[in-house]
């Protein structure tokens, strides 16, 4: 019996990641939203900014005449109209673009910048860490709303401005997560082994640390997405998000603010859409986190 070979038996079953109900339910909503955002212009609906003065504040299911693809036809306002007679369903679909843009692009800004800074801080420690932490603390301490108003003022209100501003605001949070994660992994012996070969710091960060830090950052990004969609909603509500005629869910909620008694659907429908979207991203984030690292534990 060969006393030094480990007789072939490499144990541990290969884990097949089974994506269950908990993944596909929220994912299907997100996919549907993507679909809406991408095909918004092709739906057989009136333009979102088109006002129908005869059909203001109509409840869902109201029937009337409307211009669809430049033809006036019999039309059912599936989700009703708002205070200016605009089709809520059309506005909802167009508004999803803003929410998704902010929800997905802004966290990427935060992830890339914050992730990088966090990894540098956690790996090099010392002065670099001190500077990064100090700057991040300063950004965190700065009132977010003031920063947003200032950026909107300087850059002009637009989707790009909102996306960028919110992205910047998330950087300190990603830095914190990345730094904490990096600290754990930089202590491990495989990093020491890499240094023992003479691997450059850059290479260590990219090939040893980043693959390990990436997963927690991804999970965190999904949760940040949910938070940012709400944040954009609040900004829209305050009129600080995208300017009209672009539609955003937050602005829609604001539009219906004065009509909560007689036509609550104007605010409630976009609020429900936001709720479902935020919930979906939260569920996705939690689910992916639970897939996690398959570390076997010896009994």
């Amino acid at each position: 019996m060969a006393d030094t070979t480990s007789s072939g038996d490499i144990g541990g079953r290969k884990r097949r990641i089974k994506l269950g109900f908990g993944f596909w339910l929220p994912m299907s909503w997100v996919i549907f939203l993507f679909f809406c955002a991408a095909t918004a212009d092709f739906w057989p609906l009136p333009l979102p900014s088109e006002m129908h003065f005869l059909d203001q504040e109509m409840t869902p299911g109201h029937q009337s005449m409307a211009f669809i693809n430049e033809e006036e036809v019999e039309f059912t306002f599936v989700l009703g109209t708002d205070n200016m007679g605009r089709d809520i369903l059309a506005r909802l679909i167009h508004g999803s673009r803003v929410s998704l843009m902010v929800g997905l692009v802004s966290p990427i800004i935060g992830l890339v910048i914050g992730g990088l800074l966090g990894m540098l801080a956690g790996y090099f420690r010392g002065r670099i860490e001190g500077i990064v932490v100090a700057v991040m603390d300063a950004v965190l301490a700065f009132p977010a709303l003031v920063l947003l108003i200032a950026l909107t003022f300087y850059l002009g209100p637009s989707l790009t401005t909102v996306t960028f501003s919110l992205g910047i605001l998330t950087v300190p949070f990603f830095t914190r997560v990345a730094r904490a994660s990096t600290l754990t992994f930089a202590k491990r012996e495989f990093v020491l082994a890499a240094r023992a070969i003479g691997t450059s710091d850059f290479r260590i960060i990219v090939r040893e640390i980043l693959p390990n830090v990436f997963f927690p950052l991804l999970v965190y990004a999904l949760l940040v997405t949910a938070a940012l969609i709400i944040a954009e909603g609040v900004l829209g509500f305050l009129g600080l998000s995208v300017p009209p005629p672009t539609t955003s869910w937050g602005a829609m909620i604001n539009d219906g603010r004065d009509y909560l008694e007689e036509a609550p659907h104007i605010s409630l429908i976009p609020a429900a859409a936001m709720f479902l979207t935020v919930l979906s991203f939260n569920l996705l984030g939690d689910y992916i986190r639970s897939l996690g690292d398959p570390r076997e534990s010896k009994l």
């Binding site: 060969a2 006393d3 030094t4 070979t5 480990s6 072939g8 490499i10 144990g11 541990g12 290969k14 491990r188 012996e189 495989f190 020491l192 082994a193 890499a194 240094r195 023992a196 070969i197 003479g198 691997t199 450059s200 290479r203 090939r207 040893e208 693959p211 390990n212 690292d293 398959p294 570390r295 076997e296």
Partner: protein, 316 residues
């Protein structure tokens, strides 16, 4: 002296207020296995890391084939690194959980820039076979799919892929089951012969150290107490601490008498304020006044046998 491949002189490693290694001098001769043994807090792991310059020691010299590693600048040091490699205690923590075995073992080759991708894969293939793993089954998998013993084999493969001259083993079997421990010890012995390695083997387990080493150095609280060939250390230990260590090792023989450990009961002194003179004196049954005044130097008691004690036990 001239056949010393690794020469450590006056090594000091300080972490803030704690001096983990205090003025340690020893050598590792070419093709020998030197065991470095001691209990927790004695500084053996810190010594190993200092030899590797990870991080550089506070002061002292580490000469590899004559060249002082401590004095070398970054890029020069990096050039020499392939000659001296290390394996660690925790088999799981030593491997990047997100990379495949092929990646892990070929990484050193990539960093050094050796060979083409295909050539590297072949080297890794042969190396995995040499350490007793089936390369085709192992290369595509990740560390969590392997047992502790197999992970340690992968670590050994990674350490040897650049064909170093010196291999430092920092408690490589302490985290493994007894039956697996034997496998890895035998493997290290085989690798040593096959690749002509010089090994510095660190452990707290005296029996393990004795099995694999030619000579053994005993450390206590940052200092070396005794250095001797394995067999001699066991048969004629001269330092009271060595005697205590030997008597404490449990023997798997029910008829053997339970030896009384020759130590004054008490805590290990704090490394931030070690006892004056001989550091071991607070637990030494033979301590006398002189031991508190003068620190005993490491002197040659007999050929190849050094002790740091004012009153070494010469006849026992």
């Amino acid at each position: 002296m001239s056949d010393a491949l690794l020469d450590i002189e006056n090594l000091v490693v300080r972490f803030g207020a704690v001096q983990a290694v205090s003025d340690v001098t020893f050598e590792v001769r070419k093709s020998e296995t030197l065991g470095l043994v001691g209990e927790s807090g004695c500084g053996k792991s810190s010594t190993a890391r200092a030899v590797m310059q990870l991080p550089r020691p506070t002061s002292g010299e580490v000469r590899l084939a004559g060249q002082n590693l401590v004095a070398l600048k970054g890029s020069d040091l990096r050039q020499l690194r392939p000659k001296i490699q290390m394996i660690f205690q925790d088999p799981i923590s030593s491997l990047n959980p997100r990379r495949t075995v092929l990646d892990i073992v070929s990484a050193p080759l990539e960093v050094v820039g050796k060979g083409s991708k295909a050539e590297r894969k072949q080297i890794v293939h042969d190396m995995l076979e040499a350490v007793g793993l089936d390369p085709d089954l192992a290369m595509g998998r990740r560390p969590h799919e392997f047992s502790g013993g197999q992970c340690q084999r992968i670590s050994i493969a990674r350490a040897l892929v650049l064909e170093p001259e010196v291999l430092i083993c920092d408690e490589p079997v302490s985290a493994l089951d007894v039956s697996v421990q034997a496998q890895i010890l035998n493997l290290l012995q085989d690798m040593k012969e096959r690749y002509g390695l010089t090994i510095l083997f660190i452990s707290h387990d005296l029996a393990v150290v004795k099995n694999i080493s030619d000579r053994v150095a005993v450390m206590y609280l940052g200092k070396i107490c005794e250095v001797a060939p394995s067999e001699l250390l066991y048969k004629k230990p001269a330092h009271p601490y060595t005697v205590a260590l030997l008597s404490a090792v449990p023997v798997p023989d029910p008829t053997a008498e339970l030896k009384k450990v020759a130590l004054i009961a008490g805590d290990l002194p704090s490394p931030t304020s070690p006892p004056s003179g001989c550091r071991f004196r607070t637990r030494c049954p033979y301590a006398q006044a002189k031991c508190a005044e003068d620190e005993p130097p490491l002197v040659e008691l007999a050929p190849n046998h050094q002790v740091a004690c004012h009153f070494p036990l010469i006849d026992n």
